[in-house]
Symmetry: C2
Subunit: 182 residues, 2 copies
Amino acid sequence: MDAEHNRQHIVAVARAAFATDGLELPMREIARRAGLGIATVYRHFPSRPDLIGAVLAEQVAVCGAEMQAALDDSDPWRALCGTIHRFSERQIRDRGLNEALLGSHAAGLAFTEQRRAHARALEQLVERARSTGAVRPEVSVEDVRIGLMAIASFRALPPERANTAVRRLANLLLAGLSQRGS
Amino acid sequence: MDAEHNRQHIVAVARAAFATDGLELPMREIARRAGLGIATVYRHFPSRPDLIGAVLAEQVAVCGAEMQAALDDSDPWRALCGTIHRFSERQIRDRGLNEALLGSHAAGLAFTEQRRAHARALEQLVERARSTGAVRPEVSVEDVRIGLMAIASFRALPPERANTAVRRLANLLLAGLSQRGS
């Protein structure tokens, strides 16, 4: 039972560590934070993708379900707003999860397929919002990606300040994407 | 004449160094890049604010003149657009200059007065654009500051990518600030 306890402990420590420091955090630092030897960590998780897979599988599945719900929403603008606010908050409070799901981060290899599905869903959300006239015709998914990338930098702020700045910039981005007054 | 030559060389090296690495760069690193002893640097510039003052005085004066021109512009929206694009590009290509002019960066102490004038001018630009209905009533200068802070993070990108991302996000921010279709 000690082995199972250790395994769960490593996963819990790694979850917190990836959330604050991202998926590139060295395995040896995770072992250190868990108070275990590096050999014990490797016995449970022979490679980093094994560990990342175990830590994030559930959250990645939840994100997939959220994206599906957004795609099923009858109001494309509401769906896009919810998604951008959700992604923005995640940029601050769960760095590892966004690294696994967005961009081309090598450490996200454990979720190649889910990542592709996520990117496709985000494109569809933007496309739908544009085709119904909720979003300006010039807007593309790249604008959303650039905005989210910029928001990620607020991680460096003190938490209270970061939350306010994230919400404010996310609202400003949405105001910039939207086709208002038409 | 050697002394004068050294002084000019230090200023030129420090200008490039501050532009890429910001005003906190250690004096000893500037000496190293200039190929001079730290004692020589201190002989010309006894403290960091002395060096910062010598390096940035001219550029700060130019920025002040640009802000005045923006305030004198009869079209407040055009003035705000020009200012935000100028500030955005500066976030990437002249980190030190923006540190001296924006925020509460300790290293900008050499320009306390100009910095206050700059902040006041930016507030007036936003206020004028709002009062003429060019900008949404909910917008404040804080939105502009948060947007510029986020844009600064694009420094970490490769230059080509950074330029595109800066322009794109600056345009998106402006679209978000503006009161369109009213």
